[in-house]
Amino acid sequence: MIGRRSRKRGAAVRRPPPPPRQRRPRGARARLTWPRLRWPQLASPRVYAARHLQVLIESLGRLARQPVASLMTAAVIGIALALPSGLLTLLDNLQRLSLSWEGTASISVFLHDEVTGDRARKLAEELRSWPEISTVNYISRDEALAEFRQHSGFGEVLDALETNPLPGVLVVEPTRQDLTPAGAEVLLERLQALEGADLAQLDLQWVQRFAALMEIGRRGVLVVGALLALAVLLIVGNTIRLDIQNRREEIEVTKLIGGTDAFIRRPFLYTGFWYGLGGALLAWVLVQLAFLLLRGPVAHLAGLYDSSFLLQPLGLLDSLTLLLAGALLGWLGSGLAVSRHLRDIEPS
């Protein structure tokens, strides 16, 4: 608007030009023409994207020019992120370990005395076809007695009895999916309802205790994680605040020549992004190193228990989540600092 009107008026008051005094440098090409203003001018999406990419790289370059200070900040963030992600990975491993102790969660189905060995074996055969059951082992009354005699040391007492007091047992192992406390409970009820079953008993206690412990562990890690995420926000926020103060002049000049808040905010947001991403990368390295160091001794220990358990480091998905969370926290922390402090800086 201004452009068009002023051009007209400008032409009206134009005076003959004074004799040329300014020497033009050799190779001078383009001449400025005045004023040709289109307003408002919106950048094309391509230019906009290119601008973002440029700021992304520029802010990384700026960090690289102060490698020690940048690395220190990233290291603090990295340690803060490594703690919760390391603990979570540890919990995941414990969960896997509990699954490998499948046998411990078996259900013992005690049979009525009148159930014959043939009936019991048929019943076992039938149970094996259930999808939620992986194995069924039949222990007859005689076998039970023999085992008891061998292990208990009460052989003479038993000899004094006229009849075998022990019932036949079907030892049922659920499949992995049905090992959850709720799944095991359902299976238990079905087995209890079997004809010929006197009592079905689940060694539920440890499954439930372990699940409860895991839940406490998970909650604890969440609390610690939330606190440390807050710490990351503050670290990045404070670093960016200092950065804003150091670049006060630049911000003033940019505002003076028409830079919008979004334009001025952008480099700081990307700096926060890089801090967060760098910190998350360091955290990743720390966690993987720790698990690599623990892997040998844990495998050795598992071997002593006849287990082939292997400590698993961060998987691909978890690693990506960690990096994303770090970058996001950095971005947010910077955004908080910028929204607090950028308004205070105005040209004067």
């Binding site: 608007m1 201004i2 452009g3 009107r5 002023s6 051009r7 008026r9 400008g10 032409a11 009206a12 008051v13 134009r14 005076r15 030009p17 004074p18 005094r21 300014q22 020497r23 033009r24 440098p25 190779g27 001078a28 090409r29 383009a30 001449r31 400025l32 023409t33 005045w34 004023p35 040709r36 203003l37 307003w39 408002p40 001018q41 919106l42 950048a43 094309s44 391509r46 230019v47 906009y48 290119a50 601008r51 002049e249 630049e250 003033e252 000049v253 940019t254 505002k255 003076l256 020549i257 028409g258 830079g259 919008t260 808040d261 334009f263 105005e346 040209p347 004067s348």
Partner: protein, 226 residues
């Protein structure tokens, strides 16, 4: 182009820098603004560039009332005003080229357009061969010209300058003023605050004289015909 209508400006300290000032700067003119130290020259320019807001009265730029410009709209108004202030000069960690390119980057021009326009502006102020230099390696006069190139690179219809020749020798001052005259000749409205009575009285442009926040006189220098 610029109209002040009974404008007063009282600073937070209570000092009244402008008192009921009314004036008009026609479009396409180069106008000098002068007066004693503390007369309110810088204040007047700051009001136009929305660095300060008036306590009362209206300021119109090309019919647009600045009182109605919201905080969010300020950048878009400033893009239409080229500003050359003594204390807001160059960014010393960037090359001359990058300094001059900044307004174009802000406005979202594409890469090639930026290169073309920056070189045209640097050519205009005679610094084309210094585009890769850092401002610290330039003389005071050259730095001032980089500032001018940055102010004009976006082709604003209005150019404001506060003491643009403040610490330059007479020869350099004349060159800078001549540069402003050249922009003015292609239609840009130019308003220059200056103490340099000697220099402006030899140039053929209208002069506004402020005294204690009021317009004391408006006209042409004695030696120059209107």
């Amino acid at each position: 182009m610029i109209r002040f209508d009974n404008v007063s400006k009282r600073y937070p300290g209570g000092h009244e820098a402008l008192r009921g000032l009314s004036l008009h700067v026609p479009a396409g003119q180069l106008t000098f603004l002068t007066g004693h130290s503390g007369a309110g020259k810088s204040t007047l320019l700051k009001l136009i560039s929305l660095i300060e807001r008036p306590t009362s009265g209206n300021i119109l730029i090309d019919g647009q009332n600045l009182n109605r410009v919201s905080r969010r709209q300020i950048p878009f108004v400033r893009r239409k005003v080229g500003i050359i202030f003594q204390n807001h000069q160059l960014l010393f960690d960037r090359t001359v080229f990058d300094n001059v390119a900044l307004p174009l980057i802000i406005a979202g021009h594409d890469h090639r357009e930026i290169g073309r326009r920056v070189r045209a502006a640097l050519d205009k102020v005679g610094l084309l061969e210094h585009e890769r230099a850092y401002p610290i390696t330039l003389s005071g006069g050259e730095q001032q010209r980089v500032g001018i190139a940055r102010a004009v690179v976006n082709r604003p219809p209005l150019l404001l300058a506060d003491e643009p020749t403040g610490n330059l020798d007479p020869e350099l001052s004349r060159e800078i003023m001549h540069l402003f005259e050249q922009f003015n000749q292609v239609g840009v409205t130019v308003l220059i605050a200056t103490h340099d009575i000697d220099l402006i009285s030899r140039l053929n442009h209208p002069i506004l004289i402020l005294k204690a926040g009021r317009l004391q006189a408006a006209g042409y220098a004695r030696g120059a015909a209107p």
